[in-house]
Amino acid sequence: MQNLPLTRREFVRGAGGLGFLAFSGVAPAFLARSAMAQTPAPERDRSILVIVQLAGGNDGLNTVIPFTDDRYYNLRPTLGLKNNLLELNDDLALHPACQPLHELYGEGKLSIVQNVGYPNPNRSHFRSTEIWETGSDSDTFQREGWLGRYFDNDCSGSPEAESVDADPAAIHVGDMIPQTYLSLDSHSLFGMKPYGKFDRGQDPADLAYEKLLQADHIEGNASYLQHTMMNTLVTERRVEKIIGRYKPQASYPGTKLAQSLKRVAALIHADMETRVYFVSQGGYDTHANQLNNHQRLLTELSTSMSAFQKDLTAHNKDDQVMTMTFSEFGRRPAENGSGGTDHGTAAPLFVMGSQVKGGLLGQTPELVTDATKDLTYSTDFRGVYSSVLDKWLEADSSKILGDKYEHVPFV
């Protein structure tokens, strides 16, 4: 029984030159790449971005708490937090569940960007997530994600992307490809589960499968499936090996987010060329019974992020990695009648890493006493993106975002 190929190059070679001409759409790129194929030198010093999505709309006012502002307690008679607050300065404090993040803040490894949002906020989960993921204005619709456009702009021309041995441009944990990654050109994306093994048995049926994969697939979705299946086959084997032998240097909680980040750490440690990772934590849509739920969510978030940072540091990878959170919106300043909060607008986000400058950035949101009013953002989220793109990923943010936005000095 023949072993399955471990790299795309072996795949091409094993399939026998001409067979691959049949790869419509995919074929020319594959052939071009195979012709130039060289094993790329592992680059050990390039910057990596890890995105943590807080899905559902994280309540910003109970994450960074304006504990000296009476209006906050008036708006939130039952949800307003008073005890065990983790002070950031004389007026602001982190939620008590954020102890591990508070420590990182103290060490200057955590920046908190306050009151991030965009003009004419949309309060639909999907539309607002789409706005955040595409980096579009609230009244324009875009399919491609902001990082997808980064791949389109920066990755296609680089030598390592031409190589058939290239690692995925981006990796996400979970069943769904984030819209953040959608692009015009096709880039190799890889999704993995937070838990469990990937293994596949060896079988002559696998060889038959590879043969059928080489047939002509002209229709749009068939060609897309074919492309995905091939890439998957190659990457699957590699990633499985890396994760299987990884020895974390921090103790990760058993939560989904922590386990997802542990896998990301394994791949970073293995010097994968992938520069972007996306993990997600759900449950932030706290319309009811928010106190307990939010406490649990922020505990999971901060313990996971902190374990990840410790692990990276122990492996000397912390200088290379920046981790950033985002959520589609914050929540209404006034609590509702169900012990929860309805959809709102601006909220703070976290940026973590050894190269991060640390501290509180941007303006603190201005609270108003009218219970029906939302916060007005003071930092455009695309300012955060442009800083990441220009200063961390060394790309040209104006090309990717279509405009220039004021940088936020966390890097």
């Binding site: 769904m176 999704g191 059928l212 229709e219 995905t228 998957t232 009648g337």
Partner: protein, 501 residues
Amino acid sequence: MNIVSPTPDTFAVKDAWKPLPMGFWDMGTAQHFLRRVGFSATPEAVTSVLRSSPGAYIETAYRAGAVLPRSEDLKTFTDEAPARYNNMYRVKDAEEKRKLRQELQREENELFRSFAMDWFHYAREPENSAREKLVMFLQDIFVVEQQKIKDPQQLYAMQQMLRDGTTLSYPELCKRVSREPAMIRYLDLDKNTAHKPNENFARELFELFILGEGNYTEDDIKEASRAFTGYRVMRRYKYYQAKKLQDKTDKTVFGETGNWNGDDVIDLTFKRPAARTFLIRELVKFYLTEEAVDEAYIEALGEQWANHQFSLPYLTKTFFESRLFFHPAYRGNMVKSPVHFHIGLCQDLRLDVAPFQSRVLRGMATMGQAFYNPPNVRGWLYGEYWINSTTISARRQLVDYLFANLNEKRLNGNEKRALSAAREAGRGNFLVTNERLKQVLSLASDDLAKHFTTYFITEPSRANYSKSLKKIIGDTASDGAARRVRSAIIALLQSPAYNLS
């Protein structure tokens, strides 16, 4: 090969929704019809539907009165749950309370999983497939997540309500949805009162059920949520109007002012032009194509639909027998959903759904479609969103399993019981055995390749795949032929083409 999608210039709008002329009702159109309306186009199903017509098939498939049988255990739980919950809430001792709650949760979880299995067995029966797929379509509009609701009876009742709802008008269905305990809890309607409004339901009613984003204002939502006050659930399963909690003052929704209740708001919403087209666009996305279809077609059908009081039977029959539905540009290029893939496999291979809960339900979750657990209130996105390396690996694993040997010694106690129960119920035939593979060896490799590609995959890849399959199978009279046929079928069912419909 790529056939250009129709536009009003090439394909007249006035003809688009007329029934397909019977002269075009042949093997090709019948296969397209069966795979899109249901999950597979087996030789028997094709022969049978060709004797009938698309319209007649739809009327039979969606006829009123279908009920998913409810297990005795679920009935008992339903009778006892309200009292058991009340009892649990009344208990003072924290430890005792915790035990009672855990016991309820454990039972709920178990009953939910058997409900899920019951549904898979039911939907796999060819006479139920088309209707259950339509129920899935509605479940992707009126989303409810098991993770939040948990109570298996509330989830069962919601699904059965949608099943009955396929024979109603859409406004009537929306009103029933607003009274359904699972929905009332899912979108916090039971927390919405005159003094403390909760906008969750009103927002999704406009955005996800009737109009679509951008067709209402934030004020419409605020006003409408006041009309949906007083919706409560009694004894867990019964809806009632709590008069005291209702907001009885005037509300202005879409510019019309009055003391509206929830039903009035739904009626007002259906007066908006966007209500004519929203569901049709969803129907197109679910059943026809991921690309946008020219708005002129959508608007034309929307007008006809509105003239028929938004009747769902009118809409589905008109849609599925229409010329546009059979347009060649829309054939063979839709990614199957995991449910479609799984049930379709069972039907194509004439297999029962495996009796093992963990195997079936966990498999569905890895393929990205955990039963009754969509990612969020918008439901699954369908189409190419199903496909990534994780889900592709899971689909391949399912095919491998269907061709594996069952090692009965390694089954755990639950699985052994499930297996003997399945055999008793005549559902023990859930894996492809070597005996069955040997039966096909009387055919030559040419004929086998042709048969497999005709019935398992769609037109575009048939010629190429036939050539490869013939080579893989080789001489069917020689040694190891059964094994080679096995490899060929497995590969075919894992191929790009089999993932499309």
